[in-house]
């Protein structure tokens, strides 16, 4: 009788311990940072555009040079509540001026705040987890060169039970994809395209459908999805639906012109603004990768 009780208590303790283990986000191992080159801001600028930081973190309505002022404040309405992008300018009080590169790495690769709490996956760390540490270090150097902004970060408008950040540990365990979606030994241009599409460019966040918990359905990778902002749908860009040539895709990513010379609006206009700033071979790499994605009608 006592033996059975002991087993039950033991199991309950294990269960509780396991649950608690998910409430705080583990930090990346420190030795991974030892071999890095010091961050290069010029390379970091390329990472910045590839990752699209300004598209979410600049102030609402910002255009041109104002997009480099990462004051935050843009609202992202989802089924789980409305999230507000934080201030990630180098301001030491309102922004992330006090962060070391390892803090940026923990945020981007593990969805972990400096105090150990989880970030909501509205911040696409499920994609950014693929970023190399060197790219993070370079990005950190570039972010530090941008203008300071004093706008305080706005609290998310998220109701119970999603307001409990500790629960995100379970979400991460269940829904953060492990490894690449398109696997295998890829030629260099396709591999670079995979890094941009699955990683920094986080294209799947809009182009892949989600399950009820908001996790990506990676079996339907880039198969199209409802527009996260409510209106319309985001298209299927697997080869079953996207019949554009590589040259068409490359031209689109630079100019926003479709093969019929319509011009991209909405969120893709933002993507084109970012990807127009990258070297031409990066746009070609994205096209090469898209041709390799499993066709899904």
């Amino acid at each position: 009788m006592l033996g059975k009780l002991a087993v039950v208590i033991g199991l309950a303790g294990l269960g509780l311990g396991a649950a608690l283990a998910f409430t705080r986000s583990p930090a990346l191992p420190a030795e991974q940072f030892a071999q890095l080159q010091p961050g290069d801001a010029a390379r970091g600028e390329q990472v910045f555009w590839a990752a699209g930081c300004a598209s979410c973190h600049s102030a609402p309505g910002a255009t041109g040079a104002a997009k480099l002022v990462l004051a935050g404040g843009r609202a992202f309405e989802t089924a789980f509540g409305t999230f507000y992008a934080p201030n990630i300018s180098p301001d030491p009080v309102a922004g992330i001026g006090g962060w070391r590169p390892v803090d940026l790495a923990n945020a981007m690769l593990a969805g972990r705040a400096p105090d150990g709490s989880h970030y909501y996956p509205a911040f696409p760390y499920a994609a950014y987890q693929h970023a190399t540490l060197q790219d993070v270090a370079d990005l950190s150097a570039y972010l530090a060169t941008l203008p300071h902004d004093p706008t305080p970060t706005r609290d998310h408008d998220v109701g119970f039970p999603f307001s409990i950040r500790a629960g995100l540990g379970l979400w991460k365990a269940a829904f953060m994809p492990r490894g690449w979606v398109v696997t295998g030994d890829l030629p260099p241009d396709v591999a670079r395209g995979r890094y941009l599409v699955e990683g920094l460019g986080h294209c799947g966040e809009c182009h892949t459908p989600r399950n009820i918990a908001g996790g990506l359905q990676t079996t339907r990778w880039l198969n199209g999805a409802p527009n996260p902002n409510g209106r319309g749908t985001v298209p299927n860009i697997t080869p079953a639906a996207l019949d554009w040539s590589s040259a068409d895709i490359v031209a689109y990513l630079e100019t926003g012109f479709t093969p019929e010379y319509d011009s991209a609006g909405g969120h893709m206009a933002e993507v084109v603004e970012n990807y127009a700033k990258l070297p031409a071979q990066d746009r070609a790499a994205v096209a090469a990768y898209l041709k390799r994605v499993a066709p899904q009608p």
Binding site: A251, E254, T255, Y261, G265, A269, V272
Partner: protein
């Protein structure tokens, strides 16, 4: 008394009929404007198509064809558009347009974006006939100017 009633009724009908006539004229004016501005965009696409296809290597570069198309584009983009965007021609008021009411709420910005497109088209016309690389070099700016207005003031396709 009957005469007064008849007069009031008559005036009322006349006023109503005038209002109705104005509403009909307005809706025709809105339809005409929408048709005309879509036609203008299609002319943009027709001329852009030649330039873009040369830029991406789908069409052999031809200096005089590129010069002609880019001159067309510059002329089209500089047409006076003041009658193309009447009040009531937004996608909340009528069905066959994707233009958002935001355009009228931010009319100065919309006009500035129109001007930027005209400038980008002029910049293209200045170089399109001089060489393929020069043409390619201007495609990004041209696309960006079209995209800026669509991003702000056009609803998604579906």
């Amino acid at each position: 008394m009957k005469k007064l009633t008849a007069l009031i009724l008559g005036l009322g009908l006349a006023a109503g009929a005038t209002g109705l006539a104005q509403a009909q004229d307005n809706s025709k004016m809105v339809e005409d404007a929408i048709k005309a501005r879509k036609a203008q965009m299609q002319l943009y696409a027709f001329n852009l198509g030649l330039l873009g296809d040369m830029a991406k290597g789908a069409l052999a570069y031809d200096a005089s064809a590129a010069a002609a198309a880019s001159n067309n584009l510059a002329m089209l983009a500089s047409l006076d558009q003041s009658r193309l965007w009447p009040q009531g021609s937004d996608n909340m008021s009528v069905d066959n347009t994707r233009t958002l009411p935001d355009l009228w709420d931010n009319i100065d910005d919309a006009i500035a974006k129109g001007r930027a497109t005209a400038e980008a088209a002029s910049a293209m016309a200045a170089v399109a006939g001089t060489g393929l690389e020069a043409l390619q070099g201007q495609m990004g700016a041209l696309g960006g100017s079209c995209g800026a207005c669509h991003k702000a003031y056009r609803a998604p396709a579906n």
